[in-house]
């Protein structure tokens, strides 16, 4: 018997459950707090009130926050296209006539999902956290300090991101320059960018 429907182990479904749990935990926490606030001042000074608040102010909110972080940081993977600042680049990515690397990767589904996030986050836990917190700062810029014009990538795009998929392919390895004794270490160390030889993955200027 399959695990479909509401008990599917699919990440999106797990996030829905976590969101539901977060809402219930938050409501339970609020209920405890409201009950404590509604009681008389003498009771609020009692040990029973302290224990109730240990649950309402500490235990339940901690679990709510944990669920909120997991759900929010997961959703942030898909949030790039929700920001109008990125509209021109998203349009290029989806334009069938575009020949940019990003458009090819997106339209041919060389990357199946979370395409922006896959290329713009480093691999491993540290990279994930860094890129998600980076996304958070982008939201802050959007609403409070304004979006810089022209937009620039925060730091040089690391060749390691391309090599993660391409590095071990026969097609990559049969290119002499990739295996060249002088160039190979420079590519692998990030000293040399893939885009010194290959076309820019996005349009150089705002499309």
């Amino acid at each position: 018997m399959g695990h479909d429907g509401m008990f599917s182990g699919d990440t999106e479904n797990v996030m829905r459950w976590l969101s539901g749990a977060g809402v219930l935990l938050g409501l339970a926490s609020a209920t405890v707090i409201v009950i404590v606030l509604a009681r008389k001042a003498e009771w609020r000074a009692s040990a029973a009130a302290r224990w109730a608040l240990l649950v309402g102010l500490f235990v339940l909110p901690s679990m709510t926050m944990l669920a909120g972080n997991v759900v929010g940081l997961h959703k942030s993977k898909q949030s790039c296209t929700q920001c109008h600042t990125m509209d021109p680049w998203v349009a290029d990515m989806k334009n069938p006539a575009s020949t940019t690397l990003a458009a090819k990767h997106y339209q041919r589904r060389w990357i199946n999902e979370d395409q922006c996030y896959t290329c713009h986050s480093g691999y491993g836990l540290g990279g994930n956290i860094k890129s998600k917190l980076g996304g958070l700062s982008h939201v802050m810029h959007y609403y409070f300090t304004g979006v810089p014009d022209p937009l620039k990538i925060h730091e040089p795009f690391p060749p390691a991101t391309c090599l993660y998929c391409h590095g071990e392919t026969a097609k990559y390895q049969k290119i002499d320059q990739h295996e060249d004794a002088e160039m190979k270490p420079k590519i692998e160390s990030g000293e040399m960018s893939c885009f010194e030889c290959h076309a820019s993955p996005h349009p150089r200027k705002k499309p």
């Binding site: 809402v23 938050g26 909110p61 909120g68 949030s79 958070l136 939201v139």
Partner: protein, 62 residues
């Protein structure tokens, strides 16, 4: 008692922001949850700890 009430109000604010973030997971509400919601929760917890410590000191437990 005022500290405890302040902690409760801050926690309720944090819960409100968290619920909004769960129900409408937009980038703005996520950013609000991360900064305002968790900030309010953190402050509420700190106030609660301060109340407990003060209480224990008054009873000469600490």
């Amino acid at each position: 008692m005022k500290l405890l009430t302040a902690a409760c109000v801050l926690a309720l604010f944090g819960i409100g922001v968290s619920l909004a973030h769960f129900l409408w997971p937009t980038p703005l509400l996520f950013a609000s949850f991360m900064l305002l919601g968790q900030g309010a929760f953190g402050l509420a917890m700190a106030l609660y700890v301060a109340v407990i410590v003060r209480d224990l000191r008054s009873r000469k437990v600490l």
